[in-house]
């Protein structure tokens, strides 16, 4: 058995994952990164996207929204605002959210200044990640 690293995903509504895993892949500030056991101490901000980890042959996907992660003492901790497993995601809802966000962005692009572009973009990002996480279940 290869060495493992402790993964912890914490959100304001409680810990979502607390397991020993083989590898973690996450969307970092400068692009996706992978973390294996005994990684050097590391701190990075996290973008909206998909966090995946493997235990043996099992692979899990989570949709996470912004926050940061910390690696120290063979432990990786994600502090994010929300985290959902792929199989928990309501795809229809995510699809609708995606359409809504796209419409808002289109409006903003034309003329409408009442639309908060950053917010719409974030919403689109979240919706896309949700759909992606759900499709990889």
């Amino acid at each position: 058995m290869a060495q493992q690293i402790a993964l912890e995903v914490v959100t304001p509504t409680g810990a979502v994952v607390n397991e020993e895993v083989d590898i973690v892949n996450a969307p970092g500030y400068g692009g996706d990164f992978g973390v294996l056991a005994n990684h050097a101490p590391f701190l990075s901000t996290i973008k909206i996207g998909i966090l995946s980890y493997e235990i043996g042959k099992k692979r899990e996907f989570l949709m996470i929204s912004g926050g940061f992660c910390e690696v120290s003492n063979n432990k990786i901790t994600f502090l994010v605002e929300s985290a959902e497993f792929g199989h928990q995601i309501d795809v229809d809802r995510a699809m609708k959210a995606k359409e809504r966000a796209e419409k808002r962005l289109a409006q903003a692009a034309s003329h409408d200044e009442s639309i908060n572009v950053t917010r719409a973009e974030a919403a689109l990002q979240r919706a896309l990640s949700r759909i992606k996480a759900a499709s990889t279940r």
Partner: protein, 292 residues
């Protein structure tokens, strides 16, 4: 002396009231449990967050220039007052309101005008007579979520950055126990580097050199607004739990008061009944006496 029927109706009414207050007590205690669970779930998040913040701020002593940490000459102060949306919880909301008012007077005595941001309807009702309420967030205390906290934190910090206030304090009620809720005030903006009390233990633990991605300063830039969200959310959680605890106590007192009134009224009722019986007996005896 009130008539028999009057007393009886009154007893019935008070009994109904007691039923309602008892039901409210039970609802409040169920909700309190929910609120406490929520607080419990949030605790690891805050703990980790503070750890990371103190870690970072000890690294960035190089003097990064963060607008949210900038200490300015305090000319105007903003108070974020977190209360509940509903009443019937004893002096809970007015205690928070009183603290807010007292703080306001203190600042005004120093010649610093104060504005309020009210979270929760009751605080607004208390403070609207001061005509200094800048913004109200109503009806979110029941089912608040992180995004509510984010909205409030963004609004307050933008006002701070735009120079609308030079210092922001947050006033809420701390949940000590079911019996004790204490209104407190905390500094909110500018962001203070984390407390020294935790500093020692974490500083020792993180002696190893970290890899930061992006730079410490940029991480701090992202983390500071998040930190504000966390603080607001924390205050809302505390107030949520305190509110239900306060309502439990208030409703318990009300139920007891009802019971007292019922027993007093019952005695009154029995006395009135006895008097009526005595009067009737006197009549009968008088009548029989007259027939002889």
């Amino acid at each position: 002396m009130p008539s028999l029927k009057d007393v009886k109706t009154k007893i019935g009414g008070v009994k109904k009231t007691a039923q309602i207050t008892k039901a409210m007590n039970m609802v409040a205690s169920a909700r309190l449990r929910g609120a406490q669970d929520k607080m419990e779930a949030f605790r690891p998040y805050t703990a980790k967050f503070n750890e990371a913040m103190s870690n970072l701020s000890s690294r960035s002593s190089s003097g990064g220039n963060f607008p949210l940490m900038e200490k300015r000459d305090v000319k105007t102060v903003e108070l974020v007052v977190v209360t509940s949306d509903r009443g019937l919880c004893g002096s809970f909301n007015s205690n928070i309101g009183k603290l807010a008012e007292r703080t306001m007077r203190e600042y005004e005595a120093q010649g610093k005008p104060v504005s309020f941001v009210c979270v929760g309807k009751k605080g607004f009702q208390y403070l609207k007579k001061t005509e200094k309420v800048r913004k109200v967030y109503r009806d979110i205390m029941g089912t608040f979520q992180m995004f509510n906290a984010r909205e409030i934190a963004t609004e307050v910090s933008q006002n701070f950055l735009a120079g609308g206030s030079d210092k922001v304090e947050i006033i809420f009620s701390e949940f000590r126990s079911v019996a004790v809720q204490r209104p407190t005030g905390h500094d909110f903006l500018p962001v203070q580097p984390s407390e020294a009390t935790e500093g020692e233990s974490t500083a020792a633990k993180i002696s190893g050199e970290y890899i930061y991605e992006p730079s410490v300063e940029e991480i701090m830039d992202v983390l500071q607004p998040l930190y504000l969200n966390v603080m607001i959310y924390h205050a809302m959680l505390e107030v949520g739990a305190s509110e239900h605890a306060a309502r439990m106590t208030a409703m318990d007192n009300a139920t007891n008061a009802c019971k007292d009134i019922i027993s007093k009224l019952t005695i009154l009722y029995n006395k009135a009944r006895q008097a009526a019986i005595t009067a009737e007996l006197m009549d009968i005896v008088g009548g029989a006496e007259a027939l002889k």
